[in-house]
Each structure stands twice: as structure tokens, then as C-alpha cells.
Amino acid sequence: MDTEQILNQVNDIFKDVLENNDIILSAATTAADVEEWDSLNHIQLIVAIEKRFGIRFTTAEIYTWKNIGDMCTVIAQKLQK
């Protein structure tokens, strides 16, 4: 799966969990850019992404992400393993 596909799938998850079909994510998107993306919803997003891709993030990884791009990079790395 390439980065583009991963980003699309992550975008779908965001739309679904945050119940907003207008969300368009890019690699540069941060929590400040998406109104519904608060700390509570963040937990749900992580769980949903882990489930969709069949991966587990570590707590440390979650703390290092600055934007969606960082998140997708980690997903891509885990999928290659």
C-alpha cells in the first residue's frame, strides 16, 4: 500500500469516527485544523486505525506525531514489516 492509499484510508476513518464527511486530510494536517479532533476522539481514531490496518502503535509513537504525514509514515513502516 502506498502513502497515497494509506492517507485515503485514514481520511475515511476520520470521516467515520468524527462523523463529518467534509474532512479532507493532507500530510500537513494537524489536530488544530480539524474541529472535532479532540483528545477524546483521538483515542477512538487510534483504535480505529489500528483495527483497519491490523497494527499496534506504541505509546511513544503516538507522542511523536506532529501531523497526519507522521502518522501515515509510521503506518507504512508497520505494514512493510
Binding site: 477524546l40 483515542i43 483504535v47 480505529a48 505509546t59
Partner: protein, 572 residues
């Protein structure tokens, strides 16, 4: 059929107009935002409108013991206390006297419950702890009171004992619910470490459902009847084609799956769930296994209404409902055939129709997982219910042989024992007050504790009525609470009757007894009130029919000019 957490969240946006509002306070020792969402989402799923007060993080004691806390401002009908094994473990490690740990935890919960029930008219729901072994002792933990595992299990049993002693205390048994999928599937390490959330996203709906079902059952929304299909549901194979010798039950083929389902049905029957059969079959062929198959667990006596014919199942289920005289929403229909299920579900949306798995081997796991038959009480009367409904069918047959109702009623030789509420009748009265939806004039749901204090109060008179006749004993079927409104007036605060004994003239007999109480205690006037609900339309004209006159919405009757109502019931 457990919904996902995302679906529960969507429920929060549903239109809940018309759903009964319930005030719920959630106190948790861990972060409770998601728990609250799950409880609210499932409450809405079950047709309730929960208004939730969520206490701040880990403030259980402060909320309960501070009379000025937000909890007491809301005056909730339900207080839910959610406690986590992870916090319990941390407390355990701080404890010096490990062997006394469980007793202290139970004393603490008893203290919380005592204070809550003193200060609020509320029911309390608390969870059992999910069972884990911290592996400090390894397997030896099961062999020493010094281990966390030992103390945790002792706490869980202690909580159950506490709930037995206190009718207003209910248990959401997370210990057994978690064991279905296992601890690793109830717990998300990251959510715990980062947010102090102790329940994973996939376990939250299980908690929400359990709590929702407890609340619904305390409101009288419980299942009373299980309607069973026969071929490939209660036994394997088609009896009309295969013949009785070839149906799978007992040791034959996958008969074990069906035997276990039948055993479970029998246990439900013994607990007070009415069993009925609805099958597309010739009745003689359908009944044959119940009479003479050696491996059948269920016998004809266990089935209250047996319908086997070639009509459509929708009409047959409606017929069963009319004979039993219970709400469709209190009935469950089990059928292996998706087509039949769909047809019935579409025609009768209030009916619960589980989507039975294709493989009968999965039946029991699936059905247990649904927790269909939650109940808020259990009395000895429940065990006799099937016999009572069968007698009802015999009475119906007798009635057809009389041309007028009075002759029929006279032929029944009805007798009633009348007495005020005492400790023996209290549990049954409490159950009747909780469950009666139709013959219930004001639908005031008192708890068992409320009724006990009413029975002991000098401001009230209470009456209970049993009814037996030539076919059998119906047990306690009606209850009256009379409140002294003023020196001359008794107000009928509660008038409820079981629908098992409709059209038997019990109302007339009851009123005669009420008037007797009034006269004996010097009251000249009796007043009553009808508060309409979605279900109590049958008593709309109750007071008018009994000769009361209306005055500003209140029905009045004067004992001076009261003529005793005709009745075919004698006092025992």
C-alpha cells in the same frame, strides 16, 4: 447483537421524544467519558432517554458523602458506580493487612450504598471487578488469602451478597461479561496508560448494554415469554418429513445442540418465563415428541400455549399474545428460518426476534450473549407461572360452554385471601408494582423499600388479594395502597392487578373491601385518579364503571350510599 461504540455514539443524535426520561449519575474511579457515552447510547437503544450526570474523575466518595455535591442536585433515579480492577490493584498494594482487604472494600461499598439510599430515592448499580491475577504468587494465588486474586474474588462474592441483602442495589457483572472475550479484549493498554481509561472501545458497549438492561428491567421492561419454532430450532430435522424417530435430539447427530437449548428453555420456564410453541406443522405430529420421545427435555406441560398449524406465523404469534394477554414487547421469538423471522419482525416490530446463527452448535453461545431475560426480581410465584397460564386456557374452554358470564363466574368457585402487606407478601407486591403496565391506575413504581415503609406507616392502609378457583391458585394478583388524604377521605394511591385475572370481577370484590376498610376506620369518602400511560388504556373508565363520580379529574365515592358490588368471589 451488541452495537459497536461508533453506533452508540450515533444513537446520541437520535430523536428521543416520547422516550421515558431517566436521571442517571455516573461515578467512576477511572476516566468515565466513554462509559457515559456507552450508557447513554444503549439507554436510547432500549427506548429510554437517559439524562446523565457525570461526576469528575475519581470522585466517588466525595460525591456520595458531600450532601451539597452535584449528585444530589440532580436527584438521580439511578446511581452507577464503576470501579476498575486496575485501581483496586493499586489500593491493594498500599494495604498492610492484605487478608482484611476484601472486607474493607465491601464495608466501603455498603457505606456508599447506605448513604445514597438514605439521601436519595434511587437505585444503585455497581460492577463486579474483572478478575485478573497479578502473578505475584502465580498459581499459588488461588491458595492464599494474601493474594490479590483471592481478595478480588472475595470482593465480587461480597458485592453479590450485599445486593441480595439490599433490593435497591444491582450488580452489573463485568467479571462474567469480561470472561466471554477475555481480559485482553476488555482492556487497552494505551488507553489506560495515556488516559486512565480502563475499558477498551470494544468492551464499552457490553457495559452500556448491561447497565441499560438493568435500568430497563427495574422499569418493568422485561421479557416474559419465549415463543419457540420446532423444526431445526427445538430439534434437528423436519418432523413431518423425517418422522419422530429421526429428529436430532439427545445422542442422535448434533442432537446435543438442541438438547442444551431445551434444557435452557426449561430453566427459563422454572424461573417464570412463559414458553409457547409456534410451528408450521400438523398439531398431532408436532406434539408427538413432547409426549413420547424419550430424549425430549421439554414436555407438553412446560408449554403454556401450543400453536401448530399451516397459518402464517404473524397471526399465530398475535394469537399467542392475546391468549397470554401480555405486551408484544415482552415476547421473544426463536426461529431458525431467516425468512419467517423477517416476515414476523416486519409485521410486529415490537417483538424481539434474535437472528439465530446458521449452525445450531452456535445457538447457546449466541443466546447467552444476548442476555434477553434480565430481571430486577425473582419470587416464588414466578415458578408457578406456566401452570397458571395453562389453567387460564382451561378456563377459556369452560367459559365457552356457558351462555352468560355470571353463570361462568359462579361456576369457578373463586376465593380470595385479603390481607394487608406484610413481610411475606412484600416481594410479590413489589414485583407487581414494578411489572403491571395495563391494569395500573397511576403507574407509580415504588421500590420494595418504599412499600415496606408505606406498609408500616400510620398514614396508609394496604390490601393484597390472592385468587384461587377450581382450576388452581393464581397467587397474589392485586394490591391496593390507600392514603389518608384528610380526616374523612381515603385516596387510592395505587390500584394494580395482574392481567391474568381480568374479567373475573376482582375489581368489584376489591372495591367492596376498600369500602369496608374506609367504613371501619371512619372515612366517608374514597377518591381515585387515572393517570394515562401508553399501556393502561383498559382502566380508562375503571372508576366510572365502579360508580365513582368525577370532580375536577378526581373520582369520588361516598361510603354512605355505596351499594355493595356484585361479586362471585368469597373471602377465605
Amino acid at each position: 447483537m451488541t452495537l459497536s461504540f461508533a453506533e452508540l455514539k450515533k444513537n446520541l443524535k437520535k430523536d428521543v421524544t416520547g422516550f421515558p426520561a431517566v436521571k442517571v449519575a455516573v461515578l467512576a474511579d477511572s476516566a468515565s467519558q466513554f462509559i457515559t457515552t456507552a450508557i447513554k447510547g444503549y439507554g436510547i437503544e432500549l427506548g429510554l432517554n437517559p439524562e446523565i450526570y457525570e461526576a469528575d474523575y475519581n470522585q466517588v466518595e466525595q460525591q456520595v458523602y458531600d450532601p451539597a455535591s452535584g449528585l444530589y442536585v440532580l436527584q438521580p433515579g439511578y446511581v452507577i458506580i464503576i470501579q476498575s480492577t486496575e485501581h483496586l490493584l493499586q489500593n491493594f498494594y498500599k494495604q498492610d493487612n492484605r487478608a482484611a482487604f476484601a472486607d474493607e472494600v465491601i464495608a466501603r461499598v455498603a457505606g456508599l450504598y447506605g448513604t445514597l439510599s438514605q439521601r436519595l430515592k434511587t437505585q444503585v448499580i455497581i460492577n463486579t471487578y474483572i478478575e485478573i491475577n497479578d502473578q505475584v504468587f502465580g498459581s499459588y494465588a488461588a491458595k492464599t488469602p494474601a493474594s490479590f486474586l483471592y481478595q478480588l474474588r472475595k470482593i465480587n462474592l461480597g458485592l453479590m451478597d450485599l445486593a441480595i441483602q439490599n433490593t435497591g442495589l444491582h450488580i452489573t457483572d463485568l467479571a462474567s461479561l469480561a470472561s466471554v472475550k477475555g481480559y485482553e479484549n476488555t482492556f487497552d493498554t494505551k488507553m489506560y496508560i495515556n488516559a486512565d481509561m480502563v475499558f477498551g472501545i470494544d468492551f464499552l458497549p457490553v457495559i452500556g448494554r448491561s447497565i441499560g438492561q438493568i435500568i430497563a428491567s427495574t422499569l418493568g421492561k422485561s421479557k416474559k415469554c419465549l415463543v419457540l419454532d420446532l423444526d431445526n430450532t427445538l430439534w434437528g430435522g423436519i418432523i413431518g418429513d423425517d418422522g419422530m424417530e429421526s429428529i436430532m435430539i439427545g445422542a442422535l447427530g448434533m442432537g446435543k445442540a438442541f438438547t442444551e437449548l431445551q434444557r435452557w428453555c426449561l430453566e427459563l420456564k422454572n424461573r417464570g418465563i412463559i414458553l409457547a410453541v409456534c410451528s408450521k406443522n400438523t398439531v398431532e405430529i408436532a406434539q408427538e415428541p413432547f409426549i413420547s420421545h424419550p430424549d425430549m427435555v421439554l414436555r407438553l406441560d412446560d408449554i403454556s400455549v401450543f400453536v401448530a398449524n399451516w397459518e402464517n406465523k404473524v397471526d399465530n404469534i398475535r394469537h399467542i399474545q392475546q391468549v397470554l394477554n401480555i405486551g408484544m414487547d415482552s415476547m421473544v421469538f426463536l426461529d431458525d428460518n431467516p425468512f419467517e423471522r423477517e416476515m414476523v419482525k416486519t409485521a410486529i416490530p415490537e417483538l424481539t426476534v434474535p437472528s439465530l446463527p446458521d449452525d445450531p452448535a452456535d445457538f447457546m453461545l449466541f443466546l447467552r450473549g444476548l442476555n434477553l431475560f434480565d430481571t430486577a426480581s425473582f419470587t416464588n410465584d414466578d415458578k408457578d407461572r406456566t401452570a397458571q397460564y395453562r389453567q387460564q386456557a382451561q378456563r377459556a374452554a369452560l367459559q365457552n360452554s356457558f351462555s352468560n358470564e355470571a353463570d361462568y363466574l359462579a361456576s369457578l368457585n373463586m376465593q380470595s385471601r385479603v390481607k394487608s402487606i406484610d413481610k411475606f407478601t412484600l416481594p410479590r407486591v413489589a414485583q407487581l408494582i414494578l411489572r403491571s403496565n395495563q391494569f395500573n391506575l397511576r403507574t407509580i413504581r415504588y421500590t420494595e423499600a418504599d412499600i415496606a415503609s408505606i406498609a408500616a406507616s400510620p398514614d396508609y392502609f394496604t390490601l393484597t388479594f390472592t385468587l384461587e378457583d377450581r382450576f388452581g391458585d393464581n397467587g397474589l394478583i392485586a394490591a391496593i395502597i390507600l392514603k389518608k388524604a384528610d380526616k374523612n377521605t381515603l385516596f387510592i394511591d395505587t390500584w394494580i392487578m395482574s392481567c391474568r385475572v381480568l374479567k373475573r370481577g376482582v375489581e368489584n370484590f376489591t372495591l367492596n373491601q376498600i369500602v369496608e376498610v374506609a367504613r371501619a376506620n371512619g372515612f366517608g369518602k374514597i377518591t381515585g385518579e387515572y393517570l394515562p400511560t401508553a399501556k393502561n388504556g383498559i382502566v380508562k373508565d375503571h372508576y366510572q364503571n365502579l360508580g365513582f363520580t368525577q370532580n375536577n379529574g378526581i373520582w369520588e365515592l361516598y361510603t354512605d350510599n355505596y351499594t355493595t358490588q356484585q361479586t362471585f368471589i368469597t373471602s377465605k
